[in-house]
Symmetry: C2
Subunit: 250 residues, 2 copies
């Protein structure tokens, strides 16, 4: 007969973290509220400093709290931007008020900084998809309300765009897609591949990410009506700043 297994007591730091998480998720502690600090936890539970830190680090790594040096640990907030992928039909017909998650429905004014344009040898996945060993690369960072939210790296086959405005900082009215259209290579079909993972160090710096924040990586391939790939765009989004939406049929 199976001995009823005794559930082991969770360690102290975990029980403290569970209590604080409960307070956050239940709404007892709200966005921006201050959590009890290290000293408060030490006194209240009679534990060592390292143990109190460990409890707080759980919540920080879960993305529920943010530490501020010399000040305290605070409940984190979530106010995402909504990014639309395919939206062909749904938008006006039943897009209103039907969202699952709250968001700033339309992207607030983006600012673009750290633009960087270069001609480079294509790396492997991009070279294969574009069928081109030389590419023009446009790197950008997007910010909303002064907070960086997205990194974008666009690749174009070098032979295709050589000498056009796509190789210059100002791409002119309508942007790169209008230029591709004038070249007779208007994008008509898109494929977006998505992943989520923890950020690499350079992403943490460029997006100013606190601990416990994943990134969403989108690799988008734009193809002409003939199926020729003309752009590969890899985007890295601060996951805490975005809700992505895709609408489709059948």
């Amino acid at each position: 007969m199976q001995q009823s297994p005794v559930p082991p007591e969770p360690p102290i730091y975990r029980r403290i973290a569970d209590g604080l998480r409960e307070a956050i998720l239940s709404g007892d502690l709200r966005d921006g509220d201050r959590l009890p600090g290290e000293n408060a936890l030490m006194a209240r539970h009679g534990i060592a400093r390292a143990t109190a830190r460990q409890a707080l680090s759980v919540l920080i790594n879960e993305g529920l709290a943010i530490p501020k040096r010399g000040s305290g640990v605070y409940v984190r907030q979530f106010r995402p931007i909504r990014r639309h992928g395919s939206r062909r039909l749904s938008r006006d017909r039943w897009g209103r008020g039907a969202a699952i998650w709250d968001s700033d429905t339309e992207g607030r004014p983006y600012t673009v900084d750290e633009v960087d344009i270069d001609r480079e040898r294509a790396e492997d996945p991009v070279a294969r998809v574009l069928d081109s060993s030389e590419v023009w690369v446009r790197r950008r960072r997007y910010s909303v309300n002064g907070r960086p939210v997205q990194l974008s790296v666009s690749h174009f086959p070098a032979e295709l765009v050589e000498g056009t405005a796509i190789t210059r900082e100002d791409t002119g009215p309508g942007g790169v897609y209008a230029r591709l259209g004038e070249l007779g290579h208007a994008p008509a079909h898109f494929t977006e591949e998505l992943r989520a993972r923890m950020p690499h160090p350079h992403e943490t710096v460029q997006l100013d990410l606190p601990a416990g924040t994943p990134v969403i990586v989108i690799a988008r391939v734009a193809r002409t009506a003939d199926g020729v790939a003309v752009e590969v765009n890899e985007m890295v989004l601060d996951a805490a700043s975005y809700v992505l939406q895709y609408d489709f049929d059948s």
Copy 2:
């Protein structure tokens, strides 16, 4: 005149973590390889145990390494499943060999366990979208090769599906969508909203997630040709097990 700011030396634990990360990302350490343990780091760098642990915890929280009690810390691997959202046109015409990320292209045999079906009061976002205060809820967990990879919670308006196979464990041939079709409410339009975040504790348990693994949350709304919402499905995916793909036009 601006004093050239002296970049402060990163702390020891960070420099050690940077070195190990470099070894992982460069391929010096490969999937499944063992990292130097706490004792090795203490000896090599002349540091205290807690500092060595802190260095390793950085990599663990980044999802690059996995600790195994009594054994060591190992380099983590990434072998995702590919999940297709809208795929109307692209699949056969230019889907082949054009992927950015490697994956098991078609989902390997899923197994379903922990099925749970209940009639419940609808919570707020779901109640609003389905315009229904009572819902039938189908909860499931999906596993691939014995590893849990996805949690799924489907909601249906209670009045609509009452007494049908949708309220029973075996939904019959074609599944719930076939049953909805027979009721004259065939789903025709889909909206998927996506987020990524760190998992909640119950998700960590049910998906057996190691630290440093985000989840992707998909809220999918199915609507009939008339625009009536007939299903809300909230899925929670182990982000390390998935690549999502969406294909669309214009």
